[in-house]
């Protein structure tokens, strides 16, 4: 099967007819719902939370988040905010009168919420789209980094995110997960049914520093096929989730703190926190 993201940009691929076809297919409904439940169980939310859904589409996941269920959504009902780049998908969501707020937005441009907004985030079958740049001004790596940096900042300390995505190959899997780690997340990859046609990849992300166990291994420990790619080895001796003084993550957090106190801070750039080269 050809990969849709290799054929067209997402907003063109998910046009009116494709969005409708997608949403009404009972096969797709079933698969998306299964993956949403899997993601919810990995998030293990204990009480009604504020959740960001990246690439929310027509709200198939959102409908599950909005519904309390003692078995599959014990912490719910959750309140969610969805971002999607396809206005046709969002139009279908509107028709269905989903409960979440919807934004027409490109996750590759960042996440426009203030720091610490969300308890959790999910993304089902969307992140592989970020591995394509739609113009020459952007690169997949740049888009991934804007996305994960924005996501990291928008989650509260101790928050979690689960992104199910369809990596094209190992290289892409690595590109996505390392972008997340570079943004500051503790990250683990979970594979369901590896090697089969229905293989599913979940990137499980944690933001340290909360009252919850932010340790990624706590989330996926004992699960089969889990690959923990936490960068903790580098941060030995420090508390989990705390960045090295002077690192990019540390500087960004300090800036956030200062901003919150009303101080004007310098705009972050891709050079923020990089060692400066000696100028001659």
């Amino acid at each position: 099967m050809s990969r849709p993201e290799d054929t067209l940009p997402p907003d063109l691929f998910y046009n009116d007819s494709e969005s409708r076809k997608y949403t009404t297919s009972s096969r797709i409904q079933h698969i998306q719902s299964q993956m949403t439940h899997r993601a919810l169980s990995l998030l293990s939310l204990r009480s009604p939370s504020l959740i960001l859904d990246i690439g929310c589409g027509s709200g198939l996941s959102g409908e599950i988040l909005s519904t309390f269920s003692p078995e599959t959504n014990p912490g719910g009902p959750h309140t969610w905010i969805g971002l999607d780049i396809s206005s046709s998908m969002l139009a279908v969501a509107l028709e269905k009168e989903v409960e979440g707020d919807l934004f027409l937005a490109d996750a590759g441009q960042g996440v426009p919420f203030r720091p610490g907004t969300f308890d959790a985030a999910i993304s089902i079958s969307a992140v592989q789209w970020l591995c394509n740049a739609e113009s020459t001004e952007e690169s997949p790596a740049g888009r991934l980094s804007r996305f994960f940096n924005g996501l990291y900042a928008s989650l509260r300390r101790g928050g979690r995110a689960v992104c199910q995505f369809y990596p094209k190959n190992d290289e892409q899997k690595k590109m996505v997960s390392s972008a997340a780690v570079r943004a500051g997340f503790g990250a683990g990859l979970l594979e369901d049914d590896p090697g089969t046609k229905s293989a599913k990849t979940y990137l499980v992300l944690t933001v340290g520093g909360g009252e919850l166990d932010g340790d990624i291994t706590g989330v996926v420990r004992g699960m089969e096929g889990v690959d923990v790619m936490d960068s903790r080895r580098r941060t030995k001796g420090r508390k989990r989730g705390e960045e090295a003084k002077g690192s990019k993550g540390w500087i960004m957090r300090k800036k956030e703190q200062m901003e919150r106190k009303g101080k004007v801070v310098k705009t972050n750039s891709k050079y923020t926190g990089r060692k400066r080269r000696i100028a001659f």
Binding site: P77, H78, L102, F103, L104, T117, T267, N268
Partner: protein, 147 residues
């Protein structure tokens, strides 16, 4: 878009992220709509500490909504103190050991979750960019030169 959501939203432009004026965004020509949402007392309790109260108060003022108190309600004002000797049955299960939701909690629910912006624009106080809101959906796609 719920007023709750607007209370978390910032300008998407990179140049604005670091400035104070990029939050909150200011509604312009806003058309409001009340959309009923089932009360979730625990959600209101969870989210209240994260709400920027001053921004919410100013917003309500600007939109001509009833005035909010000067400071955010305390957690203790959200539930009645006596859970166990309340009425049997409805409500109790939902709120666990918290007792009944107070009118304050219900008012917060109404302002934050049921009051929505249906049409209009959201303007960044830093760069002046206007984000259009149509049928409750805000357009945050940036032209590439503004990213």
């Amino acid at each position: 878009m719920k007023l709750l959501t607007l209370n978390f939203l910032t300008c998407a432009r990179k140049a604005c992220k670091a400035t104070n004026a990029a939050f909150p965004l200011h509604p312009k020509d806003a058309e409001l709509e009340i959309v009923e949402v089932e009360l979730s007392p625990l959600f209101v309790r969870n989210i209240l500490p994260r709400v920027e109260w001053e921004a919410l108060r100013t917003l309500c003022q600007d939109l001509g909504l009833p005035q909010l108190p000067a400071t955010a309600p305390e957690p203790g004002e959200l539930f009645t103190p006596n859970p166990s000797d309340g009425v049997e049955g409805e409500g109790i299960e939902e709120v666990g050991e918290e007792g009944e939701p107070t009118q304050t909690l219900k008012d917060l629910h109404h302002v934050l979750l049921e009051t929505t912006i249906r049409e209009g624009k959201l303007v960044c106080g830093s760069c002046g960019h206007e984000y259009a809101v149509k049928e409750g959906i805000a357009n945050f796609l940036l032209p590439s030169h503004l990213v």
